[in-house]
Symmetry: D2
Subunit: 310 residues, 4 copies
């Protein structure tokens, strides 16, 4: 049995010591520490790690950390929605996103050609340059029918930004799955490409097969789900089909009371066999922009200390 | 300027009077009434109405109300995720879902073959019977390449349940869009079908085109988004591409503070041009299982009174 | 075992039928119905009912419903915070509160002398007239030392508004407890009164005794807690000291994950003995301005049908 | 205009660098950094700082940090609810609180004599020993009528625990206000003391005066509100009466949509004049057990670097 311990500041505190201290505070600080420990443990025990995140996290500065985790060999597959793909490309092309306010004058922003995502702004110009890039990219594709993850690998290979998760994933053979590939500006560009190239096709069923075959029943499997929705569900489905996750970390701002996937807990997942009954799993409630760097930095430091970093 | 009015019970109060009384209480009750008024107004003014909902709402008893809204000619397109499709079919096949508890013993449920969604349970047997049905359905499809919405229309035509939204939509020519069609058990069945029929394809890009062409710039357009995620985003995207929504109702349990699509407000949507600057729009915070029946029943009663019900 | 049932609109639906239909939808709609059933049951079985609500609910139009529940003999004690007291008095004096927007320009409102509570505004003038009234009231009090609940009874006796809960409570001998009586504008007026009358005292310890003695171990006891904080905690404490509640309904927008009292569940309360292990209890997540009228109206209708209404 | 920057792990990252990196991620990470900057700024500019927190934060390990902030001369007044008082004393007496799970079997815990607060347990034995201590303490009090803050100072003087905020506050002349002093087990002990000593009184009106007189119109004033309810409201009221806060940090898991004080934003506060129109203020959404150590540690490090730490 563990006890609540008072947290106090000490000179020269590093991130690892901070996260350990949080573990004894109680409430979500304790759950955060559990998540950090589980992340470290899944790597130490050789699990394949599926990291999934929602579009807005690609909008945020977490995107560089996702790329770093791929680069360091910590993550084996990524699953996200199309907004995160678009914005990873934009940033790789040099577009800048602005930090603004939650309580903005949205009509005024519209007139300024600025699109708001919480307290972040993306300009119409960034979208225009993305369109020019993606249009040429599709036109130059040699294959006219490919799975979504192959499409995203080709896309990543065209980029040259260390902080791009598409770039890192393409170079390290880490697949990026995106089960709703048309749900964004990209959907429109794909549609226009089809008008120009009637044989252009993205094969979603083929991608599902690729995803299913990637994980074996005998593999140890870990899921880290930041946010909810389709990307979270898809990661869980992927492990369900290969026997369930051995480790699971859910970070969410939603709760289970409306029955949504976004708020569904690691406990609920056990009823489905999505997560094994005896798994190491935890749900942490809060904004991933704060929680995930703490968890990931702790894990990287622990892995480095134990010589487990590639 | 309106004033707060005390709400008191009166004998024989009907749903319409109840919703009107809620309008003067303040806080979310006032927003709920605004939503009901906007729903009525979008119909009275001849808007095309896009209704979007997340998978869990198909799990719940709201599914019959969605079907009724289609049947009554109130809704022009549906957008949802694949879980709602699967469960609409299961229910049409006679499967029963159980009402249970949020604080369940999930390991025990797993042993009993019961899968939990909040306080609702779906049995493994229901999934098995769904698999048998859908496998035969796909094998009997005459066309081997079709868009997702055509696939779902064919599926609806095979059902015979007044409370099924797929059934009602298929009969009334209302398209059902599902931008992440592989994200569920159906994904696996589609993958197995591909193994048996290598030419079997679902065309997601083609569906996007169909969706884009359905709405014109000159149409008045209304969006009703229950919950968040891909289905909400897709509905908004659909109206963005045809000039933005004139009316919008968002019902969500999420808030905008993590920058998620689920919590994104109707105000934020204006910065994107997703919703017109001078639109009638409202965000109501709460569980759609309670809020949406109140809003929809009010609207149906108002439409009937004014002779606007088909 | 109950099953999910599809909800559909039927002509002439009343509130009772609506609430019953909600019960079979799942998620929070089901919890709402449970709450309505428990409220009815606690009355049918003769429990003493403690209703507690936060300040903002007095700001809203729920205030008239609280008064009606006292008038109908359904509630035996009220517990709230001082804002609700102040605003009940203001409304009884004829002050009007405005319905506005959540996304207001607060600096502009400040310049206009308007104070915002969510989407409701209270004018500085209303506060000024409240001050004049309460100052005279205190100056005319014959007793200079009294418990808080006696002070509030005297206050209620000065009002003449059917929709005032202070008025109804004073006339029906229902005590109103307010454990943080100085936490509002009233605190300042009490302080100024003390300057004029150095012997003026409100006895909080005496009020605690009165509260403790009001409920016996043998009484059946029900708690209805709208919102959280001190008023919720005080109601629970009151029943804990007399053996725990037999019935409990919590309505809250908070969740338990930060360990707050506001989000604490009826389950957690059992660990403390605040609620009996075998009690009828439910936690409903949502805004009380929508949820509580549904629950209370259902209960009133059921009580009337069974001839149990005073 | 600032831009979103990618966050990446670097070897040897300290807390200060971490918090700065969070500032450029967007969403709540950015708000967290703003809060840290405002805390530092209010100290650098000589403001009087009011720190307010809810009962559960006293239950958690944050309690030691509150004590440290008092000890370092960073905080000028504390406002909380009675649970935090009780548990600060218990811990000072050597009682241990257990770290447990949110999804506990509460009936079983009740049988074990364990009381749950989120994922923390307090034993009945700890309450019994608290009762023995507080009973003797009251019996030995020489003055029989005193304000609440004087009562709490006397209490703090009896303790000898560096991590107790009552202890540190008593020694440094920092007042601890508790506007609902009877709302807990202490309420019962005060009531029993009154039975033994009919002249025993706690003067809440007197305490209000003391609080009002502590801050002048000309003082710069900062409020740090962790959680909501009466303690948050009281801190804001205190600054309102002396012209409004110049700096304000709200950390909360609630949102403004139900009109509650717990979710009320720093913007809403401006309509009341509680916070000055041109103040530095921020609302951060999340659990204070994670957020507040980051904010406070950053501030302490900045103050130390600039030689501003006592």
């Amino acid at each position: 049995m563990e006890y609540v311990k008072d947290i106090v500041w000490k000179p020269g505190m590093g991130v690892r010591e901070l996260v350990e201290s949080l573990g004894s505070i109680g409430f979500q600080a304790t759950e955060l520490y559990k998540a950090a420990e589980i992340f470290f443990k899944m790597k130490r025990e050789g699990a394949k790690v599926i990291l999934t995140f929602t579009s807005n996290m690609g909008t945020s500065g977490l995107r560089g950390l996702f790329a770093q985790l791929v680069k360091l060999g910590i993550v084996d597959a990524l699953i996200t929605t199309v907004g995160a793909i678009e914005e990873d490309v934009m940033k790789a092309l040099g577009e800048r996103f602005y930090i603004h306010r939650f309580s903005a004058d949205d009509v005024e922003l519209h007139e300024l050609g600025m699109n708001r995502v919480g307290n972040i702004l993306i300009s119409n110009d960034s979208y225009a340059r993305f369109e020019a890039f993606i249009t040429r990219f599709i036109d130059e594709l040699e294959v006219r029918k490919l799975t979504v993850s192959d499409f995203l690998r080709e896309l990543g290979l065209r980029l040259s930004d260390e902080n791009s998760f598409l770039y890192q994933a393409a170079r390290r053979g880490v697949p990026v799955f995106c089960p709703a590939i048309t749900d964004g500006a990209l959907g429109f560009h794909l549609f226009m490409a089809r008008e120009r190239h009637p044989d252009f096709e993205l094969d979603v069923i083929g991608d599902f097969g690729k995803m299913v075959l990637m994980l074996g029943q005998e593999d140890r499997k870990g899921v880290i789900a930041l946010g909810g929705g389709v990307s979270k569900h898809h990661a869980i489905l992927m492990t369900l089909l290969s026997g369930g996750a051995d480790y699971a970390i859910y970070i969410t701002t939603s709760t289970q009371f409306s029955g949504s996937m976004s708020g569904a807990t690691t406990s609920e997942a056990k009823s489905w066999g999505k997560i094994k009954d005896d798994s190491d799993s935890v749900t942490v409630i809060g904004d991933a922009t704060i929680l995930f760097p703490l968890i990931a930095f702790y894990t990287i430091e622990r892995l480095r200390e134990e010589g487990l970093l590639g």
